[in-house]
């Protein structure tokens, strides 16, 4: 079974009096355990595709299937539920709740999922250790570096062991060393848990880690390279 | 001047950057101002009506009695001068209206029942302009002259006595020698008053008839004088005092009926307290709005200062912004209050609590009354206190360090 299937997705935005085709008959298939990079120049449609996969954005036409279930026709509540339980999301920097500590940020999602308190504490401590933040659990976002904040975000995304993690420019605000460390973490998680990763980026270094690189331009898929073979 | 125009333009545009917040704040100010003015108009309407009614029943703006009359309001405290002398001197003095009267406690008896009342021997021609009763006759007629041998009584008293127009009643009182004096009168008129208490306690007869009955020819125990404005009776008091000399008591209405008098002063105090309370409740929101407006513009303010704008200009700009908010709220609030008062110009019927209002001494039809004084007061309170309240956030804004402000995230 494929983790993600997109069929003929189209999406048009209006900006002023200009029409922008963010997605133009884009179709992709991503297998379970995949590690895919979506690359495109700014405005190339990669974020729109990512958001369509995550059910954040509803395409004008086409179908989105996640783990064998069609999602583009689901309601808001079902989509929210899907993201909560099946998909992990990592954004650019500054995406933690500022008034909560690292641990609380991770636990917050679990509490919403309905995980009992004892399990929450145990899991969040374990996952923070796994992403290398042992000892920093009680810091607030403002007291951490960009890389550390992004690790918290990753911990938050994977704590409930989702089959699919979507990341939108996760390294945009990080220096190269920190970027590499974050990507190593992604690779390791992909390997140990079999989690599928779809990463939208225009960072060459990030693309280097991907097993498969999908290039987009003006909303179309223009290239699909299997990098493992190379 | 040019600077002020720029400041105002800036302040005005800044105000509408966050139009939701501005609209909410203006709504709050509007409601506050409306409540200030409307409530005041209601209370004023009630009290002024009470005072006017009270003055028409007392009656008059100034009353003249022999000393001690108020403690012992009867036939034994006659004025030292004769009725005709009073007439001569008061007519010569040129008052708006005045009347001499005899006022004594009495018992009135019909065929069926008797009641204690206050008997007024009046000169109907003079009394017409002063006492309410002439205009409120609902059956029969008012007295014609001082020699009229009829009486005019209240509707409720007539009911209690089970008597009616054209029937005879007997009035008993005492003469100065404490001999019981009594006489029969025919009821020639029945009046209705806004307060039931007036209907049950007042009975009017011709002055000469009463003088004859009580054996006090050409004497009176009360003179009532009407000035042109009940809020300004001191000149009348002075004029009357000069006229009658010592030995008699000259009292303005607010001392004759101290409940009515205090009502006026208490109301003035209440109006001011009410306005300040409403403003204080508003002020938290106002300061809050300004604090937010300043906070989200920290960088901009830093930039302006870096460009050479003085701290005082920043301060001025925030204060102007606050004043604009207040002025808009005031404008709408004033119009709304005016409209509400106009809409209710026929009075608000609160007769469900009529008996309760009577305890206050007020009638059950409430006419809101808008006075220029109250409207100005409300506006001044809001503007002055509002400016003071806006000083603190404005001051903070003007104290920012430009570099720190610009680099603030």
């Amino acid at each position: 079974m494929t983790a993600v299937t997109c069929i003929e997705l189209c999406k048009t935005y209006r900006q002023g009096d200009q029409e922008i085709k963010a997605l133009d008959h884009a179709s992709i298939d991503i297998g379970e355990g995949g590690f895919v990079c979506l690359s495109a120049p700014s405005g190339g449609g990669k974020t729109t595709l990512l958001n369509a996969i995550g059910g954040l954005d509803i395409p004008d036409s086409g179908e989105v299937w996640i783990a064998g279930k069609r999602i583009d026709n689901l309601g808001k509540g079902e989509l929210a539920n899907l993201r909560l339980h099946k998909i992990g999301y990592v954004f650019q920097a500054y995406n933690l709740v500022p008034v909560l500590s690292a641990r609380e940020n991770v636990e917050f999602v679990m509490q919403v999922q309905g995980v009992p308190a004892g399990q929450r504490a145990e899991k969040s401590m374990a996952i923070l250790k796994e992403v290398g933040l042992q000892g920093l659990e009680d810091r607030r976002p403002a007291e951490m570096s960009g890389g550390q904040q992004q690790r918290v975000a990753v911990a938050r995304a994977i704590v409930s062991r989702p089959a699919l993690v979507l990341a939108d420019e996760p390294t945009a605000n990080l220096d190269s060393k920190t970027s590499d460390a974050l990507m190593e973490l992604f690779v390791q998680l992909n390997k140990t848990h079999g989690t599928t990763f779809v990463i939208a980026t225009h960072d060459q270094r990030v693309m280097g880690y991907a097993k498969r690189l999908i290039k987009m331009l003006d909303g179309r898929i223009v290239d699909d390279i299997d990098q493992q073979a190379a | 001047m040019y600077m002020l125009r720029i400041m105002s333009t800036l302040a005005w545009r800044n105000l509408w950057r966050n139009h939701r917040r501005t609209i909410i704040m203006i709504s709050a100010i509007t409601i506050g101002v409306w409540a200030m003015i409307f409530m005041t108009a209601l209370m004023r309407g009630m009290v002024n009506e009470m005072v006017r009614d009270g003055i028409r029943a007392l009656p008059g703006h100034v009353q003249i009695h022999g000393r001690g009359f108020l403690d012992d309001p009867g036939i034994n405290n006659l004025l030292p001068m004769k009725d005709e002398d009073v007439t001569a001197s008061f007519d010569a003095a040129g008052f708006d209206a005045w009347a001499g009267r005899i006022r004594v406690p009495a018992v009135v008896t019909s065929e069926r029942d008797s009641r204690g009342i206050t008997l007024y021997g009046i000169d109907p021609v003079r009394e017409r302009d002063i006492t309410f009763v002439a205009g409120d006759i609902v059956e029969g007629r008012f007295l014609e002259d001082a020699d009229d041998s009829g009486v005019v009584i209240g509707r409720k008293l007539a009911d209690n006595l089970e008597t009616e127009l054209g029937k005879r009643i007997v009035i008993m009182s005492q003469d100065p020698d404490n001999e019981i004096a009594d006489r029969g009168f025919r009821i020639v008129g029945i009046f209705e008053a806004r307060l039931e208490a007036y209907e049950t306690s007042m009975l009017f007869a011709g002055k000469s008839a009463i003088q004859k009955m009580l054996n006090v020819p050409d004497r009176i125990n009360e003179v009532v004088v009407l000035g042109d404005d009940y809020r300004n009776v001191d000149p009348v008091v002075r004029k009357v005092t000069d006229l009658v000399g010592p030995g008699v008591e000259v009292l303005p209405w607010y001392e004759v009926d101290s409940y009515l008098g205090t009502m006026m002063t208490v109301m003035d105090g209440f109006v001011l307290v009410w306005m300040i309370v409403v403003f204080l409740a508003l002020s938290f929101g106002l300061v809050n709005t300004l604090v937010m407006a300043v906070f989200e513009r920290v960088r901009e303010i830093g930039l302006m200062m870096a460009l050479g704008m003085r701290p005082t200009s920043i301060l001025l700009q925030i204060v102007i912004e606050s004043l604009l908010l207040l002025l808009l709220g005031l404008l709408i609030g004033n119009v709304l209050a005016g409209a509400t008062v106009y809409w209710l110009r026929d009075g608000i019927d609160i007769s469900v609590v009529a008996a309760g209002m009577e305890m206050f001494g007020a009638s059950s039809l409430l006419y809101p009354q808008l006075t220029a004084h109250d409207v100005v007061l409300a506006n001044v309170v809001v503007l002055i206190l509002g400016s003071i309240a806006s000083l603190s956030p404005a001051w903070r804004a003007s104290r920012y360090d430009p570099i720190e402000a610009i680099t603030k995230v």
Binding site: L56, D57 | R112, G261, M263, A355
Partner: protein
């Protein structure tokens, strides 16, 4: 502690100044509400008790129509024995029969129309405060003696003192002339001008003879001890009336309709003022919470992308508001309780109070009464409106598009 609760609490204090200003508005209003409502409750109770204790009692048995017309012939037959049987039937000592007539009271040199009450000396002290307020001389003790107790102002007006004689002249039950001579044995100070000026009491036996009552009286007055028991006693008293009698039982509200209505009128204006305060607080909250939601648009977008539903976020905003409201409620109630308590012993004095208070049988100081009700009623309503005000900001989250929200600055 629950993370959502913790999150809400910390969100609340992101901008402490703003939160304090908003809770400040709540605290200000709550203190004011606690204070004012405590005064109202304290005053109303006192007003009811003082007014009813003087003469009226909590309920009366009368002939139909008597309370409106007060006619001599609208009588309760065999009043003394009926009073005795009611006393026994209700198992209540505070029941007393009373006759009432209007008469001209004359001393050697003055005459005044007054209301003469014929009372049972043994039982009257149970239903009226006047016997206890008879500080000069003594109260009546013999049911048939030709003795009278009069009000202090009346004593002054009539120029009589203890031991003096008064002539009473009025009409009897059948309209015939009634006359008698009585000795003044006591003077009471009722504290209310109307009572002190116009009321006198004689023993019921003497009253019956003088006014030719043939064993009848006009009222059987019952003091319930506490006005809340009135309703129950009215039913019991109705059951005790002779089967063939046309007598009726009136509660205090029917006897003194002005009392409840005055309270209602006063409450009406108070509620208007409170409503204005509450609405202004609600606007303050609306402004703050709307700003707080708008400035967190991006943050909300992200947590929505993580799978939180708008409903959940809306509940978070409501929770934040509830916490803020709770701070205002607790601090307002506590502070209001403390401030009000400071005045419960000493009372509050406002210039001009005596005149106003006298009108309603109240002492010249106001004594607020703090209770759970007065502490919670006002602040509770403020809390409710605080929550209502947050509904719009919370609703806005439903229209939030996560993608657009995340792009927001």
């Amino acid at each position: 502690m629950n993370i959502v609760l913790r999150l809400a609490w910390r969100n609340l204090w992101r901008y402490p100044r703003r939160t304090w200003l908003t809770t400040g508005a709540m605290i200000f209003s709550n203190v004011l509400l606690v204070f004012m409502i405590s005064i109202q409750i304290g005053t109303y109770g006192l007003m009811i008790d003082n007014t009813l204790e003087a003469l009226t009692g909590h309920l009366q048995i009368q002939a139909p129509g008597y309370k409106d017309d007060l006619k001599m012939r609208q009588v309760v037959p065999d009043a003394i024995s009926l009073a005795a049987s009611v006393r026994e039937g209700l198992n209540l000592q505070t029941v007393s029969a009373r006759g009432a007539a209007f008469a001209l009271a004359s001393s050697e040199d003055r005459s005044y129309g007054i209301q003469v009450l014929g009372v049972e000396p043994m039982f009257e002290p149970g239903v009226s405060s006047l016997p206890g307020l008879t500080k000069e001389g003594r109260y009546l003790d013999d049911a048939n003696a030709a003795e009278i107790v009069i009000g202090s102002v009346l004593a002054r007006n009539l120029r009589v003192s203890i031991g003096g004689e008064l002539t009473l002249l009025g009409s009897g039950r059948d309209g015939s002339i009634a006359a008698g001579i009585v000795t003044v044995v006591g003077v009471f100070h009722g504290g209310n001008k109307e009572l002190d000026r116009g009321i006198a009491e004689v023993p019921i036996g003497y009253f019956e003879d003088t006014f030719d009552m043939q064993g009848a009286a006009h009222q059987i007055v019952i003091n319930a001890g506490d006005y809340s028991k009135t309703e129950q006693l009215v039913q019991q008293a109705n059951a005790l009336l002779p089967a063939d009698s046309k007598l009726v039982v009136h509660d205090w509200n029917a006897l003194q309709p002005g009392l409840r209505q005055a309270i209602q009128a006063d409450m009406g204006s108070a509620i208007f003022m409170y409503a204005v305060l509450v609405v202004l607080v609600a606007f303050s909250v609306l402004n703050t919470q709307l700003m707080s939601v708008l400035e967190r648009t991006r943050e909300f977008g992200i947590v929505m992308a993580l799978g939180l539903t708008p409903g959940r976020l809306g509940r978070l905003v409501m929770l934040e508001t509830a916490l803020m409201g709770l701070v205002g409620l607790v601090m307002g109630s506590v502070l209001g309780g403390i401030v009000t308590s400071l005045f419960t012993v000493k009372g509050i004095y406002v210039p001009g109070m005596e005149e106003m208070a006298g009108q309603f049988n109240l002492p010249s100081r106001m004594y607020p009464q703090v209770s759970a009700l007065t502490l919670i009623a006002g602040p509770g309503i403020v809390f409710l409106f605080t929550l209502l005000a947050a509904i719009y900001p919370a609703m806005r989250l439903h229209w939030l598009q996560p993608v657009a929200a995340m792009r927001a600055a």
